[in-house]
């Protein structure tokens, strides 16, 4: 067990970061916000922490906190114009947001280090801290799933005018989903910067955007298992496909097409739905069938 951990430690750590960013991506999609802004939030979080820690000697916990606040503030501001858009237009707007963030990082060279980025970031993150961050995120989303906010998010995704007709202030809840997505994205961006020694704009570009979207598409949009399953596939696949290293992009593409075609809800979601169907068939319906029979008899 321990030897497994030591030989795969970087893989495990990057898997945990991918899970966190996956939840940021999933939260937006799950509430019906077609956002791909996660890469932009993680860039903001990473740079905020890196700059504060390396330039100003701010303690790491305080820097992470600032990253979280930056993530929430920016996502809140962004949620206002986003609320006026739908579907693909939201995707394009958030794509533009990511590009703007990257452009600004390149432009303010004296502050952000330009294309070279920031190096010499202390590596204070380890598997334990990353795991803790993922577990806290899972707890929050698990809580959401079991309470009012989760019900509202599901309603927004499926039919937001129905939600409005039931009294849901839909703009506020869209903003809430987006702010949570921004918060999680920025925090995991910050954690990532405290793990990799140096960051540069290219780490958060198109590739990062596709990566966190892929985690959710492969894993699933709605369940807790989704991002874990998606990130697991993304982490293991390159290892299995080492001989094909040259063609890794093709392999990723093929897997993505296969999953979208045959498991459109994502591997994790499909698994959870399948389990739920099985559990439902067994004990619970037995008691309900009896009550159902009474209704029929009463007719």
């Amino acid at each position: 067990m321990m030897s497994f951990y030591y030989s795969y430690q970087p893989l495990i750590d990057f898997f945990l970061i991918a899970v966190g960013l996956g939840y940021s991506q999933q939260l937006a999609l799950r509430a019906g916000v077609f956002s791909i802004a996660t890469a932009g939030f993680s860039a903001l979080g990473a740079y905020a922490t890196a700059i504060l820690v390396t330039r100003y000697g701010v303690p790491v916990p305080a820097a992470i906190l600032v990253s979280a606040v930056v993530g929430m503030a920016v996502s809140y501001v962004l949620s206002v114009p986003l609320a006026r858009l739908r579907g693909a237009f939201q995707a394009i707007a958030t794509l533009a947001f990511v590009q703007v963030v990257i452009a600004l990082l390149l432009y303010f060279e004296s502050f952000t280090g330009g294309a070279i980025g920031i190096s010499g970031i202390p590596r204070v993150m380890n598997t334990g801290w990353l795991l803790l961050a993922v577990l806290v995120t899972i707890y929050v989303i698990w809580s959401i799933n079991r309470t009012s906010v989760g019900r509202v998010f599901n309603a927004l995704r499926q039919d937001d005018s129905v939600a409005a007709s039931l009294g849901v202030p839909i703009k506020s809840y869209y903003a809430l989903a987006f702010v949570l997505s921004g918060l999680i994205g920025a925090v995991f961006g910050a954690l990532r910067s405290l793990y990799v020694f140096n960051i540069e704009p290219v780490d958060f570009g198109f590739h990062a955007m596709v990566a966190s979207l892929t985690v959710v598409v492969l894993g699933g949009r709605n369940t807790l298992l989704g991002p874990i399953a998606g990130a697991l596939i993304m982490a293991i696949l390159p290892e299995l496909a080492r001989p094909l290293a040259e063609n890794r992009g093709i392999l990723n593409g093929v897997i993505l097409i296969l999953v979208i075609t045959f498991l459109p809800n994502g591997v994790g979601d499909e698994l959870v739905y399948w389990l739920r169907r099985r559990l439902r068939r067994a004990p619970k319906t037995m008691s309900k069938r009896k009550e159902g029979a009474d209704v029929v008899a009463a007719d």
Binding site: Y139, V140, W142, S143, I144, R146, T147, S148, V149, G150, R151, V152, N154, A155, Q158, D159, S161, V162, A163, A164, S165, L166, G167, V168, P169, I170, L176, L180, R280, K284, T285, K288, R289, E291, G292, V295, D299
Partner: protein
């Protein structure tokens, strides 16, 4: 006793006068009918009251409170609920969860306690699920509680939607063709529920095609034709009104 009033309400779509200067009152504790041939503007009226359409002219009041310029969700939070003519459930959710979301307006636990999974929020969810389960029983669809709402037959979907609309005990509920596609026995079951609701003090507005069904239940009936109110009064009087007869069968007689 509260009541919903609309005064001189108009809705024009460009040159089309979909609803043209109607007055209507939906009192609490009563069942009011809104009938009229296809395309008369009945659903437009529902959309005007619930805030989906802004009024071209006129006002909507709930008691003394003006609703005219409120958004859909604000109107709902004032205690006005509705169903949709073309049934709109959350298709991926279970029947039970479709009803649970109906309690939104009455929820007490806040967003933070939901995010932190505090016991109060979890207890509320449990309580709402129990209440929704009982409400499903009242509509005779308890045995479908676990089914995906989208997989239910049409008539049952209507029942789910009605259960959802009355879950939060609104002051006024507008039911758009509640018994469309139901047989005699099923309509009678629904009629019983509507009468119970009215007795409990809720004001009901039934938008219907089925004149017989409306006549049996309603204390007051409004008849809409081409966006104008052509008759109002107790059902016995309205159904004998020559203008109403003409609106309903006159057109057909002409065509024949």
């Amino acid at each position: 006793m509260s009541s919903l009033r609309i005064e001189d309400a108009c809705k024009y779509f460009g040159g089309l006068k979909a609803v043209d200067g109607i007055n209507m009152t939906v009192p609490a504790g009563r069942i009011t009918g809104l009938i009229g041939p296809n395309g008369a503007g009945k659903s437009t009226v529902v959309n005007m009251i619930s805030g989906v359409y802004s009024l071209t002219r006129g006002e909507v009041y709930l008691d003394e409170q003006q609703l005219t310029r409120l958004h859909v969700d604000e109107v709902a939070r004032c205690g006005i609920a509705r169903t949709f003519q073309n049934i709109r459930l959350l298709p991926e959710e279970s029947v039970l969860d479709n009803v649970v979301i109906g309690y939104f307006r009455k929820q007490r636990s806040g967003v933070m306690s939901s995010l932190m999974g505090l016991p109060a929020a979890l207890a509320e969810t449990r309580r709402l699920r129990e209440q929704a389960w009982e409400l499903l029983g009242r509509f005779g669809i308890q045995k479908y509680a676990d089914y995906e709402a989208g997989s239910l037959p049409y008539g049952h979907q209507r029942r789910v939607e009605m259960a959802r609309s009355i879950a939060a005990a609104p002051r006024i509920v507008m039911l758009d063709e509640p018994v469309a596609g139901m047989n005699e026995v099923e309509s009678a079951e629904m009629a019983e529920i509507f009468e119970d609701l009215a007795r409990s003090g809720m004001g009901l507005l039934l938008i219907e095609h089925n004149v017989a069904f409306v006549s049996r239940l309603c204390s007051q009936v409004y008849v809409l034709d081409s966006g104008r109110m052509i008759a109002e009064g107790p059902p016995e009087a309205v159904t004998r009104d020559p203008k109403v007869i003409e609106a309903y069968i006159g057109g057909k007689a002409d065509a024949a």
